[in-house]
Symmetry: D2
Subunit: 329 residues, 4 copies
């Protein structure tokens, strides 16, 4: 049994605010402190860093902190969703703001290079609209693609991954599904742009995360992923495995049969819980899923799927899944 390599967005170890608890659910946590906390989880090898780093931390300080915590950077996520970009980053109606957004992403790209990380992660959460008739749909989609093309063209040695999401903070986001992301990337026509699939985004967007993963893999575009859970209506960013166990298992099964090699990352927002213990509880669950993958009867499952036989498939799956915690011992 191979052990997965685990990672997490550094924001898993931050504190959080929302539109009601405007004073934040806890005291702010600096980037360097977040790295230290991530290191204390015990099973993490990689982190994804928000950029810029808080408190003017320098790249050297970041490197040091990562080394001290025995962590590597998998990627950097530029903060293209703060106030300045509240009405959009790539698609801001103000061309000057679009320039600022791309400048910030250029800087993030430089640090990806300097850290030897795998990618610049782009989550253009403010690129979209809130009201019917607010935008010309063709124009705004063109802005989204043109900006990304300009950015990625400037760094042919680096990879860029889009993390799609149906909505929030905008009422509707442009990069909203696996299919639309693939389509947009094809229209851009660069080979250094791919996708990071967030399990929860797929789930509450009405996709089957496993199907979305397969579609992306078939287009050679699944370059990263993270997991969490929700109630299918919103991006709750709960601990993985607390609600949709079977679909998490199907997602990892799909990765495995495609020999997808990559980091199993967490993307959770523990507003009210201990950030280290939520990460540990999720990893404990993911290790159980990994054992279930080892015990699964692949041959008969594959045969059942060829027949599209839901009964046989579910029995095989339940045998492995509903035993995976016990087999720990």
């Amino acid at each position: 049994m191979s052990t997965p390599i685990f990672g997490a967005g550094l924001w898993n170890f931050a504190s959080y605010v929302d539109r009601y608890a405007t004073d934040g659910y806890a005291e702010p946590v600096s980037t360097l402190e977040q790295i230290r906390i991530a290191g204390s989880v015990g099973d993490l090898s990689y982190v994804d860093l928000n950029f810029p780093y808080s408190h003017d931390a320098t790249l050297d300080e970041i490197k040091e902190a990562l080394a001290a915590a025995d962590l590597k950077a998998i990627g950097i996520t530029p903060d293209i969703y703060l106030r300045r970009f509240g009405r959009g980053a790539f698609t801001n109606p103000d061309p000057a703001i679009r320039v600022q957004a791309i400048d910030l992403m250029h800087k993030a790209a430089e640090d990806v290079r300097a850290l030897g990380a795998k990618y610049v992660k782009l989550w253009p959460g403010q690129d979209g609209w809130d009201y019917p008739f607010q935008v010309h749909h063709g124009d705004i989609w063109k802005l989204a693609k043109d900006g990304l093309k300009e950015l990625a063209s400037a760094h042919p040695d680096l990879k860029f991954v889009i993390e799609y999401k149906p909505r929030e903070p905008r009422v509707k986001m442009l990069w909203d599904s696996a299919a639309r992301s693939i389509l947009g990337i094809k229209e851009i026509g660069l080979d250094n742009v791919g996708v990071l699939l967030d399990f929860g985004h797929a789930l509450y967007g009405g996709e089957s995360p496993a199907d979305a993963a397969q579609l992306l893999i078939d287009h050679d575009l699944l370059w990263g992923m993270d997991v969490n859970d929700n109630l299918r209506g919103w991006d709750d960013d709960l601990m993985v495995g607390t609600v949709h166990i079977t679909e998490v298992f199907e997602f990892f099964y799909t990765l495995k049969i495609n020999n997808w090699e990559g980091v199993w990352q967490l993307d959770q927002f523990p507003f009210r819980e201990d950030t280290v213990e939520t990460a540990r509880t999720s990893i404990r669950f993911l290790k159980a899923i990994n054992r279930a993958l080892d015990e699964l009867d692949y041959e008969n499952l594959r045969l059942a799927q060829t027949r599209q036989d839901a009964i046989a498939a579910q029995r095989i799956v339940q045998d492995a899944l509903l035993s995976c915690m016990r087999s720990e011992s």
Copy 2:
């Protein structure tokens, strides 16, 4: 470890039609044949019968068939949603149809008495509306309550259970949630009207099924239940345990800590699957859930809940739940 007593709606063993496959997914199955098939599942003790019985089967034939299949009737569900009642049963705008609907329910009540079943189950699926402005909301809700009151008053020796559901076949149903059902029953003011909670209806209606069960229990109104699964957006009536394992477990946990004694019933619509094997697969899962209930660390779970400690609660739950299939041996 006590073994649950299992039951199923007889429609679990029918064939199905929908608005597209208008020729039905399989040949029609008669009531008597459905009983025979239910008996072949092997773990069922009770069935809920649609009324009237197909092919003019007599009550004596039904009794015989039940005896031959080693089954008892838990209840009878009058067909108050067929063409005649397409625009409503209790709430049909035509008073003559309302009379016909109640007449049919009177007849069903007589058979409940004759069979020694536990209740008349009312699922007024056509009582509601499709369009904004179609109804006066106060008037139609009054019709719904008045009709039920008239019916239940006439049979003080019998129990009546309302099975609430958010929608389908009407775009919106009147008896749509646990809270609304309790409220309506209180307004009616009779003590022989209660609720049958369908796990899937609660789930796709945005309730926590466990919370809905607790609320009903606290009002002494949880008189029946059935389980199945769905994707939270529609009443898919899938095999129980195929999607929302944790919430099924929480539902049965809630019943157990309240010492709720009753039949674990199935309400599935296996459009494209073998009806006996879907029932067996669901019961196999429910037996595993029952084992998990036996192995659960109640004391620490209760302590965690007192602290509202999601991390501790989930670890305790996963320990039991993700081992329940293995512990079979």
Copy 3:
């Protein structure tokens, strides 16, 4: 034609933050400044004030500001959802925090009295849960009711209104629907607790807002309301009338036929828009709705509803609704 009296939550004129734009979409706006801005809208008579007031504004300063802006206080909404109460107010697992929450609400009640406002508005947004198994559903619901009973009992001369909402910021809120709210209020058994219905909360909770209003009116519990809009999946708090025109109309129609007299309040979160212009645009729409109410053919609509005739009802409604902007001149 009577003109409605308009009001707005003072937060309509604040600035906003969310979990991504953690630096806020604009600079903070003080309570006193919010009052001044509300006054500049031009059609508002009432505001609902968050409590405590920012920057230690005194009650006298608030009174002065209201007078200067020609506004009255309709109610006060204590901030029982900030960090301190992030794990619950009435239902916080820590009894000491529950005491603090009720203390804060007592203080808000005193100011309601001092301002001659109509009610204390309670929106217990943190009272609920995030994960399956996190809480004992009976215990937490009891905490919610007991706390409210303690509070309202202490102020028999004042009114308290619960604003229910399905979720957010908790994954699930306890006071989540009209029916559940009525039920809880009946269990509490006090006659100074009622409900404020938020149109958007009803809509995305799967209710018909018109039906929810009628149910509350029939229980004499509709003591306040506010309007906005959303895409039925989340509490987007958009400008009213930008998406669900017909259902807004049905909501106000229901109020009118019940002779409900009260303030038409706005509850909008214009994250990225000018706060005064969003209020003005909404009020412009509401005035058009009011004209449509004047032109509606009530008699034939009522007849159509008696027949549950969606076609006739919709034609009558469209005649009034789709002419209401033109009739302005």
Copy 4:
């Protein structure tokens, strides 16, 4: 002001069955009778015909009936969702059934040619899955594309349109969104396969129908459309304009600014209403929308959209939309 050309699926004039009202909401209506009824609506120029025709009607009889009703065939929709294809048409696990499905579609194609209709419409409603783990997602998507490629390749002189839909009757359908449909069509690589956009499918699938239309237009793939309405949670197939007036308007606005020329088709399932009157009520609304399109201030709307100014855009839109019924006179 140009008048739109109206059309309707012939099923708008059928009778309906669902899984509860298994005896149907009304007596069956033959194909020839449906054509006659469609003709009686008065404003329809085109119909889309289900295939095969009921009661063994011959093509000549169909032609005659169309001529008598002053109707033309816009397309033919083969019944690839009846019992035989209940487990899939293009993606049925049984290769023999796949052959049967394609054979049926070949026959439909011949009649499209014979009738001079615009396209074969494919709605593969049974191509998908119901349960997690039921299918290998890559394999089934390949079957879907391969079958369509085989079919369309055989008729290079004809057009084929896919009508995508998120779900129903399958819990999940393969062709589920505009983006996925475009992607699949590009993978197939034929230039005689396009898309028919159903407004309601886009809406309840979480798309903006206007955005989906623009995306399809930008790929030269919007070859047909139909409209209806729903509550965003299911394909309710209500009369158009009864719920989501603004988004219908935005959809037609998008078609207009792109100079999209085509038939405005209805796709409604009036289970409980008169089929002719529902069509007439919808067309009455669509004519009002057409007037609103004539009165819209395009220039200022375009400027507002360039600024992504929701307030200005909504005011302009409301001015036209909320006057369109009055301007009839």
